[in-house]
Structures are given as structure tokens and as C-alpha cells.
């Protein structure tokens, strides 16, 4: 059997609540800086939760430079376009007319929907009584606006990215709630391995910081209501944790077949070495307390990467800061890593960024690539009193430390668990990151 194709990560792009590019985000994650603040995107004064982790000072037009395209984009698509542009620029390669059909695109995308202003317009025109009057929709300007239609489809993101860059191979959107981004990266890995394409623009994006988005999570009591201390609201693995902090943003990676990347002299952050995914099949909103489900996804990712627990130096935890997730994830890490648990550094960078939902997994895989590249670990911010039930080697201060293998966990509502494993490039072919 021919050797399996390896996959290199050669470009990164980030738009997060703690920085609108890779460098500023990485600096903030090392410092444990929080993106949490009172919600500024709408008047949240009546909501039980009035805080979130918003992307700040983002200028889509300046970042993208294509006003026409942006008419077809909502807030989250703007983040996606910017992160993708950064990643392609960083990789120093773009699809061409000649090779566009050998490029793929895999994105973790949020739930489809219209912006709240547009929802309000439809409400005022066609549903003032509270019930939709379908007849009134017929002459409702917002309900007939093709731009609103184009911005609100589940494939809007993938359509904008493939169009902008001429990506003509396999293009797909996936959604497994909070695991979406991780699953998109895993999809990209498989597409290159099986030869469907040679390069993939892979990532995730989301923005649910809107009245409807915040409402949905408030109704489930999933969010921290620490309205007076937003910067401390997200504290994964702390005994006082009380829910997650809703974030927004995007992360994109350029994935390339390993040999092709090396031949062109690309700088390689890491090998995208393994993917694992499982279903907890327990409850829609929780993982089981014993870690069943995440255990399998971590084991699969390591086995797929040809790595053992002894090779792993860093775990970027899902670590949402909800009571159940952090407990279940800790249990799973203990089962998988056994005695080695105390020697594996763990941090949830949601402690800084908040939870980017469909974007989270992709952003966090990029964070793992940066940890390998820089030999430095981002911190688990806001940890004052670790929960004894989450007895992990949590990163309290950023530390320089070589990372041979890093894994990124993402677990979604619905029970999908994704684990992605990355390996230091010099351990693959003796060559490090060549800038």
C-alpha cells in the first residue's frame, strides 16, 4: 500500500475577540487577556446576560477591500473573509485558474439566519400582531430582498470564499454546533489524504452575539451571568465556573499536501496529523460525567496521528467553563492519559476569547499550531481555585516549552466530539518552520 499522504498547515488567519489577526491574538492568549466586556452590539440592558466577548474595531471593508462582495456577507462572513485572506497571505499561495480545481474548502458554519434588524423589519411589516401574516410578506421589502436571502443561507460563507479565491474542488459546510470548526479541519485533512484535492482552505466562523443568539443561550442557562465582571466570566476548570462567555470570530488554515508544501519551500507550522470524532449519544446538551465520547475521539485522533499519549505535550481543551463540560472533559483526559495526565499541559483558550461556537474548533487548532511553532503555551486565564474534580496540569502562566504533539478538543451540542492532533514539523522530516 502506498504511504498515506501527510498534510501540512502552512497558513493561519484569525479574527477573535482578543485580536483581529494572528499576532495580536497570540500575544493576548499568552498574557491571558480577556475579550469579555459589556455587550455593545445591541442594547442588552434587559437581558439576564449582558456580557459577551465581541470582536473589536473590525473594519470589514478595510480587511477585505471588496465592497461588492461584502454586500452579500453578514458580520460572521466578514470575519471569515478576513481570516481566510490572512491565512492565504501567510501561506504565500493562492488558487490559480490552472489549479483551482485541486483546491478544496471546508468550513464550520453557524446556524443560518437573518440579522436582527432584518428580522425586526419583517416583524413590523408582516407580523405586528405576533403571528406571521404570510399574505403581508408578499409586499414586505425585507422579506423580498435578495441580498438578505443571499446573506442568510447556510452556504453563504462557502460561496463567498470559493468565489473570491476560485476554489473549484470539493467545497462544503459542516455544522455540529460547537464542534463544527474542528470537524471542518478534520474534513480538510481527509480530503487531502484521499487525494480529492491537494490544498484546502479550512476554517470556521460564527457570530451569535445578537438578541436572538444571546436569547437562545440564556433560555438554556448556558451562559455565565457575571455581568459585573465580564473579563472573569469565562474561567474553565475553576471551581466557581458558572457558564460560558459567548464569543464570535473566525479562524482559517491553509492545509497542503506535505511533499508539495515542502517542495515549494512553504513554512510549515505543524503537521495536521490526526482526526478523531465520536458521538456521545448521551444528552443533547451535555457530555456524560465519565467522559464517554470524548475518550473515543481523543484516542482516535492519537491513533490516526500515529502518536501515543507520551508524545503529547499540550491539550487545547474544549473547556467551555460550564459545570458539566469541564468535569466530563477532565474525566476523559484522565482516562486517556492516565499517569501522564499530570505531565500534559492543558489550557482552554476560551478563558480569554470566550466561546466562538462554530468558529471555536478552527481557531483553537490554529492556536495549537502556534504553540508548536513558538514552543510556547497559552494560558488558562482566570483560574483561581481549580476544581478538584478537574485535576489537570493547567497552564497558569505562559511558559516556553517544546511541543511535539498538541491536540485540540471540541464537543458540540448534539453530542458530536472532535479531536484534532498536530505534530511538530521537524519530527516529521527533520526540518523546522522555515520562514
Amino acid at each position: 500500500m502506498a504511504a498515506r499522504r501527510r498534510v501540512a498547515i502552512t497558513g493561519l488567519g484569525l479574527v477573535t475577540p482578543v485580536g483581529n489577526d494572528v499576532a495580536s491574538t497570540w500575544k493576548a492568549l499568552l498574557a491571558g487577556k480577556s475579550g469579555g466586556a459589556p455587550i455593545s452590539l445591541f442594547d442588552a440592558s434587559g437581558f439576564p446576560v449582558r456580557i459577551a466577548s465581541e470582536v473589536k474595531g473590525f473594519d470589514a471593508v478595510a480587511a477585505i477591500g471588496d465592497k461588492k462582495l461584502l454586500k452579500l456577507a453578514n458580520r460572521s462572513h466578514g470575519f471569515a473573509l478576513s481570516a481566510a485572506e490572512q491565512a492565504l497571505t501567510d501561506a504565500g499561495i493562492r488558487p490559480t485558474t490552472a489549479n483551482g480545481e485541486r483546491w478544496g474548502c471546508a468550513v464550520g458554519t453557524g446556524m443560518m439566519g437573518v440579522d436582527f434588524a432584518e428580522l425586526t423589519a419583517v416583524h413590523q411589516h408582516s407580523a405586528a400582531t405576533g403571528e406571521l401574516d404570510a399574505t403581508r410578506l408578499l409586499d414586505d421589502a425585507s422579506a423580498n430582498n435578495p441580498l438578505v436571502f443571499c446573506r442568510s443561507q447556510s452556504t453563504t460563507g462557502v460561496s463567498l470564499l470559493t468565489r473570491r479565491y476560485g476554489i473549484r474542488g470539493y467545497a462544503t459546510s459542516v455544522h455540529t454546533a460547537c464542534a463544527s470548526g474542528g470537524q471542518a479541519i478534520g474534513t480538510g485533512l481527509k480530503l487531502i489524504r484521499r487525494g480529492a484535492v491537494d490544498r484546502v482552505l479550512a476554517g470556521g466562523f460564527d457570530s451569535m452575539i445578537s438578541p436572538v443568539g444571546i436569547a437562545g443561550f440564556c433560555l438554556l442557562s448556558a451562559l455565565s451571568a457575571d455581568n459585573d465582571t465580564p473579563e472573569r466570566a469565562s474561567r474553565p476548570f475553576d471551581i466557581t465556573r458558572n457558564g460560558f462567555l459567548l464569543g464570535e470570530g473566525a479562524g482559517f488554515l491553509v492545509l497542503e499536501e506535505w511533499e508539495a508544501a515542502r517542495r515549494r519551500g512553504a513554512h510549515v507550522y505543524a503537521e495536521l496529523a490526526g482526526d478523531g470524532n465520536s458521538l456521545s449519544s448521551y444528552r443533547i446538551t451535555d457530555s456524560p460525567p465519565d467522559g464517554d465520547g470524548p475518550i473515543q475521539s481523543m484516542r482516535q485522533a492519537l491513533s490516526d496521528a500515529g502518536a501515543t499519549v507520551a508524545d503529547v505535550d499540550y491539550i487545547n481543551a474544549h473547556g467551555t467553563s460550564t459545570f458539566m463540560n469541564d468535569k466530563s472533559e477532565s474525566a476523559a483526559i484522565h482516562v486517556v492519559f492516565g499517569e501522564r495526565t499530570k505531565n500534559v499541559a492543558v489550557s482552554s483558550t476560551k478563558s480569554s476569547m470566550g466561546h466562538l461556537i462554530a468558529g471555536a474548533g478552527a481557531v483553537e487548532v490554529a492556536v495549537c499550531a502556534l504553540a508548536i511553532r513558538h514552543g510556547e503555551l497559552p494560558v488558562n486565564a482566570n483560574l483561581r481555585e481549580p476544581d478538584p474534580e478537574c485535576d489537570l496540569n493547567l497552564v497558569r502562566e505562559s511558559a516556553r516549552r517544546p511541543v511535539r504533539v498538541a491536540i485540540s478538543n471540541s464537543f458540540g451540542f448534539g453530542g458530536s466530539n472532535s479531536c484534532v492532533a498536530l505534530r511538530r514539523p521537524q519530527d516529521v522530516d527533520g526540518t523546522g518552520f522555515a520562514a
Binding site: H123, T135, C150, S154, V158, R168, A171, L279, T285
Partner: protein, 427 residues
């Protein structure tokens, strides 16, 4: 390198034409269309007022567990129903029950779930209208009254991956999985990704399912506004075609490795031979006139399956009935099979029950498989005369004979995405 064989051991389907695969195919073969007036709201004055609605929908018949109905939406009913039918037909759960506890746990961990889902709808956001009225468009009041007015389970009911999660919980499957929200090719990609996961050893068996329920006012309005909807019927490749119409429902295939099927003594109804997908990259709605990405998807599927075009015995075309999609689909078929009637007998199914969007490709795969088993390429009852722009596509009002036991199923979606799937029927 020989790829492992991936076999099909069960199917399930539901749409306006019926709640079983055979019943749906019988309606198609009898030339019976299930397109009719939309009943979910008053469509008087609407430019398009027909669709393939499941008229006598009884949620309890779809999913018996009444408690679950509070947590899911109409679209999810169809996915869970179709999946359960395929799982039953294949005996996937029954086989596990015969195993010792350790082996049963292993069996569950090695059973995957791959879903193509519509990705959400407009009506779910419209659930907030009563609250918005109560709040008189004041956001602070909206926030304060939230928990008194809106169903606390709102977000969970809205999850695009509900079918994936609930198949797992209901049937105890815990293996590799994906929820693909890639518009109309989602269901087809679910089959392709399940096949690849089995080939790659990520699972031993998997359920692939697609489901959608696009018949809601805002969807009908938007699709109509951008010129995609027909006035009364879908007429694929016909001179008079004027658009597509929505349908709703779901379909599922139980797939496994040959070894898994042999170990269970499962009856094999067919085989997934290969798949391919490619994009036009022209934007959300635009498609290339030359059908380039569809042609490339077909070529990739043939290469994946190790087949020549002349080994394909039947084509189940996308045939959605819009001017541009059908003409460019014909261009792609000509590019692969040649211009002069060399393409195998071709049919399209959407005329009979509408366009199921995320479930379209997988439902048509299920029906194509059953058609081949009956050695028939069903006719298209709404077809009268071939549009010259669609030359080279051998469609007919009458049924035709397949040339072999292999069918090519074509599927196209927004964002210029295209997928092709090759199946072999066990005869």
C-alpha cells in the same frame, strides 16, 4: 490500489409520494405527481402556491416518542423516520442485541452517523415574533420578557444537527459522524463521507441520512423572487420548463464494509462504488453554462469507482427544472458521455414530489437503487419534448431499460456545488 467494497444493507425514505421506498417508486412509475396546493399557510395571491407537501403528516407516525417532539422540528421528524426505517431494514440494532456487552459497546463505537441537513430555516427565527410584539420592539423589554414568552428549548429545537444527535441517542450509535449543511448536496455528501469513513476504517457501518422541510413562506418567497420556482410543475429538460418546486422529506442508506455485512449475515441490496464533488466557484446562485463542475464531479466519481462511462447503466439526473441548471447539466452529461445519444437512459425524480433540497440527492439515490433492482428507468410524466439545449440527455415520458446494474446519481446545490454518486444494485 483496490478500495474496500462498501455495501448497502438497508434504505428508508419519506416524501409527499409515500412513506416507504417502494410506495414512492410505485407512484413515480405510475406517472403520479404528488405536487399539490401548499396547506401550511394561505397561499392565495402567491405566484407559487404548490409544492410536494407531506399532506397527512402525523408526527407520531414519524417518531413515536412524544417527548422528543418538543425538542425537534418538522425537518427532523423526516430524518429520524427515514433513518429508523433504514436501520430496521438493515437490522443494525437487532444485530447488536445478539452480542455480549463488550462486543455490543464496540459495535456502537464502530457505527457512524452521517447527515445532510438543511442547516436551519427562517420560521425558527420567526418564533420570536410574539415576543417582539409583546416587547413593542423595545430590546430591553425583549430581554426581560424572554423567558416568559419563548420556549426554553428554542435553541435546541433549532439545531441543524438534531437528527445526528438524536439518531445517536435513540439507536445508541457512537462512531464517526458528520452533519453536512451544504444546501442541496448535503445528503449526497453524507453518503460520500460515510463511504470514505468506512473505506478508511473509521467505522465498520454507518447510517447516511438526508432531511429537509423547506416549504415555509419565507423560503417560497425568496426562491420565487430569484426566479427559481415553477408555476405548477417541474418539467426536467423539457422545452416548457419554468423552474423547480419544493418538496420535503428524508431518506437514508445503511452502509457497511463487506466484512461487517458478512459477520451479521446481512442481506446486501447494493453497493456504493464511488463519489466525487466539485464547485463552480461563481457565488451563491450562479452556475456555469458549460456545467464544468458537474462534469468534473462525474469524472471524479468514475475514477473513484474505477468505471468507464459506458459501464454506467442509468443516470438519475438532478433535473430540477430550472432553465439554467438543466441546460448546464445536459452540457456536463454530453462532456462525459458524448453528444450523440451515448449517455445511458436517464431519468429525474423531482417532478414527482418536488425538490427536497438537502435530502434530494440521497432520496434520489435510494429510488434509483430500487429502480435498478426492478430493472426499470422510470419515465418522467411531465416530460413532453426535449429542449434542444438539453440534447444528448436520453430522458423519456415512458420507462426505459437500464443498460447495466450501475446508476450515476447527480446532485447540485447553491454555491455552485455539485456531487456525483455511483451505486450498483444487487439484482
Amino acid at each position: 490500489m483496490n478500495k474496500p467494497r462498501i455495501v448497502i444493507t438497508g434504505t428508508g425514505a419519506v416524501c409527499a409520494a409515500g412513506k416507504q421506498t417502494q410506495q414512492i417508486l410505485d407512484a413515480v412509475c405510475a406517472g403520479r405527481s404528488s405536487i399539490g396546493p401548499i396547506r401550511q399557510w394561505d397561499t392565495s395571491g402567491w405566484p407559487t402556491s404548490v409544492a410536494g407537501e407531506i399532506a397527512d403528516l402525523n408526527p407520531r407516525e414519524m417518531v413515536e416518542d412524544r417527548k422528543l417532539h418538543k425538542l425537534i422540528r418538522r425537518t427532523d421528524l423526516f430524518g429520524l423516520y427515514a433513518a429508523a426505517r433504514a436501520i430496521d431494514a438493515a437490522g443494525l440494532v437487532a444485530s447488536r442485541e445478539a452480542l455480549a456487552p463488550d462486543a455490543a459497546a464496540q459495535y456502537s463505537d464502530r457505527t457512524g452517523v452521517y447527515v445532510g441537513s438543511g442547516g436551519g430555516n427562517y420560521d425558527s427565527q420567526y418564533d420570536y415574533f410574539p415576543l417582539m410584539t409583546e416587547a413593542n420592539d423595545s430590546l430591553p423589554a425583549f430581554g426581560r420578557e424572554l423567558s416568559n414568552t419563548v420556549n426554553p428549548m428554542w435553541l435546541l429545537r433549532t439545531l441543524p444537527n438534531n437528527v445526528l444527535g438524536h439518531i445517536g441517542i435513540r439507536h445508541g450509535f457512537k462512531g464517526s459522524n458528520a452533519c453536512i449543511t451544504n444546501h442541496s448536496i448535503g445528503g449526497t455528501l453524507a453518503v460520500i463521507e460515510a463511504m470514505e469513513a468506512l473505506r478508511n476504517g473509521e467505522a465498520d457501518r454507518a447510517i447516511a441520512v438526508g432531511h429537509d422541510a423547506p416549504i415555509e413562506p419565507q423560503m417560497v418567497l425568496y426562491y420565487g423572487d430569484v426566479g427559481l420556482l415553477a408555476t405548477d410543475a417541474i418539467r426536467p429538460f423539457d422545452r416548457r420548463r419554468d423552474g423547480s418546486l419544493f418538496g420535503e422529506g428524508g431518506a437514508a442508506l445503511a452502509l457497511e464494509t463487506e466484512a461487517s455485512a458478512a459477520a451479521r449475515g446481512a442481506k446486501i441490496v447494493g453497493e456504493v462504488l464511488g463519489g466525487g464533488s466539485a464547485s463552480d466557484a461563481q457565488g451563491l446562485l450562479a452556475i456555469r453554462d458549460d456545467g464544468d463542475a458537474l462534469a468534473r464531479a462525474i469524472a471524479l466519481a468514475l475514477e473513484d469507482a474505477g468505471l468507464r462511462p459506458d459501464e454506467v447503466g442509468m443516470i438519475a439526473a438532478h433535473g430540477n427544472g430550472t432553465q439554467q441548471s438543466d441546460a448546464s447539466e445536459a452540457a456536463a452529461i454530453r462532456r462525459i458521455f458524448g453528444a450523440n445519444g451515448k449517455a445511458p437512459p436517464t431519468t429525474a425524480f423531482k417532478w414527482a414530489f418536488g425538490h427536497l433540497i438537502a435530502a434530494a440527492g440521497i432520496l434520489e439515490a435510494v429510488l434509483a437503487l430500487r429502480s435498478l433492482q426492478e430493472r426499470i428507468v422510470p419515465g418522467i410524466a411531465t416530460f413532453e419534448s426535449l429542449d434542444p439545449a438539453c440534447e444528448g440527455v436520453p430522458v423519456s415520458r415512458q420507462s426505459q431499460q437500464p443498460r447495466s446494474d450501475v446508476v450515476l446519481v447527480l446532485c447540485r446545490g447553491f454555491a455552485g456545488t455539485n456531487a456525483a454518486l455511483l451505486l450498483r444494485a444487487a439484482m
